[in-house]
Symmetry: C2
Subunit: 306 residues, 2 copies
Amino acid sequence: MNLTFRQLKVFEAVARHLNYTNAAKELHLSQPAVSMQVKQLEEQVSTPLIEKLGKKLYLTEVGLEIQDYACNTLQQLVDLEETIAQMKSMKRGHLKMAVASTANHFVIRLLASFAKVYPRISISLDVTNRSSLLELLEKNECDLVIMGSPPEGHNLQSAPFLENPLVVVSNPHHYLADKKHVSLQELEKEDFVVREQGSGTRSAAKRFFTEHNLKFKTKMNMSNNRAIKHAAEEGLGLAIVSVHTLEIELKAKTLKILNVEGFPIFRNWYVVQREGKRLSPIAKVFNEYILQESDNMMQNFDIPHF
Amino acid sequence: MNLTFRQLKVFEAVARHLNYTNAAKELHLSQPAVSMQVKQLEEQVSTPLIEKLGKKLYLTEVGLEIQDYACNTLQQLVDLEETIAQMKSMKRGHLKMAVASTANHFVIRLLASFAKVYPRISISLDVTNRSSLLELLEKNECDLVIMGSPPEGHNLQSAPFLENPLVVVSNPHHYLADKKHVSLQELEKEDFVVREQGSGTRSAAKRFFTEHNLKFKTKMNMSNNRAIKHAAEEGLGLAIVSVHTLEIELKAKTLKILNVEGFPIFRNWYVVQREGKRLSPIAKVFNEYILQESDNMMQNFDIPHF
DNA sequence: TGTTACCATAAGCTATAGCTTATGATATAT
DNA sequence: ATATATCATAAGCTATAGCTTATGGTAACA
């Protein structure tokens, strides 16, 4: 059995009018064209669908069944078109983002303001560490990723879009906290609370220490920023974190930024996508949006002086 | 937008395999044939549905939407085929019958035994009088009608299939009840309880009286047979009814058949359909069934002697 | 680096979908 | 009986759906 949408469309019109001529007018066709479509449909199901008694037309039982089917199917087609149109015009759709833990703070802001502009868009946001992000990209399980240091050799495309100053923080009562200037030698002696393996912040810090031939005493490692900051607040060690994560703590004065030689380390945030990936319309727009909005974001962050 | 079932079918296979070559094998097509169908579908919705990242294929958002749609639509098509097949093989379907009130008794029996053979067939049975039956046929609102005397000039096709003996009945204590023989002259003096205008039984009786130049004193008329018989039982008058309606009353001896000159009037039951009407498979089978079964029915009815 | 697997593209062919106009058949109305 | 409305059928045309084979491009992989 090999129906066509055309057959259904024409049959539906005939079934509704119970009159070939009028159906033909509605469809802007000649009457024989309509007769032929119906006839072909009848041949497909090899059973009559319409019978003519005297002057009037009646649907047979199978005819009624097919009328019902045709109505549904055609309606679903309309719905599909509508859905696709909405997706294309970004009235609907799904945006799959993933961000490094550290970026969480400001990305959420971006998403929130973006969501206001496109209210019917659903968004999924995966907050995880660097290596998981790469995996997500690899599996094509997200549209865009926001992360630190541009990864190479993974067929990725990345664009820097926001500065990410890493600073050293401590409990305000730490003996280094009030020093005007902290040297790297002094820093080397301290214990650090750091993120787990795979974290971008961690590897950036590590790189800094190696580049300056310093020991990097990592006393504890934990898998989220809040925990690290809490540990630093409790005096368990110093921490190296992005300024972007510090808003509350600075306001509450539970942490203090140390004025260490060579800090802040200015890294960048990158918007990363898979090379060759054709972004969905909504992802494309969001991509542009964040590049543009990042400027405004910068201004709203008070990068603290020392 | 002008999708085809073919496009959906092919796309569905590709979306499932995420591999053109394998989809082509499944569909017994060349690989380019599959590529082309997908490409055409993409052109129809003017948006990409599949993207190739490295070696792997992924569905875009719209692609997922269409996959979902295709699955549903194709499944519904299968369901439709199944339904039609069942209708054709009479596993399913609907039989629309209408019968004269008087025929109700034995038609119900026929339907009951028929329904056992075709359990998933639904049946509607309209029990009404002669003129309503003709109207139902006129409007093509039923498949078959069972009624008395063949109507003419209505573009109807009818086949006689069962004898319908009309007899005169009375309360057993009626003074005519015990007479060996009742003459028409004696009958003429009696009051009759009859069916309403439009009833076949009524007009048959009326015809009998006119043909024999007799007065026909119709004391009461009522619109159903049970009421008429009840009235006769109560001694309100004689009644002329089909033997087929008398089973219980004869057994209970609440009514008695009078041995009147010229009675029983042998009319026939007819199966009637609209001329040119192509019966549904199930109606066709039922039509044959009742013609065949009517013989058995005859034997089960004791036509009483006088 | 060459090989392999896989998809895209091109060229070319055939069957037929799909339409039209013209005409025939039939039931109803006048 | 004649006219009218309506559907069926026929003939004929065009565009193209849909397939094939051949070939080219490109990741991944050894």
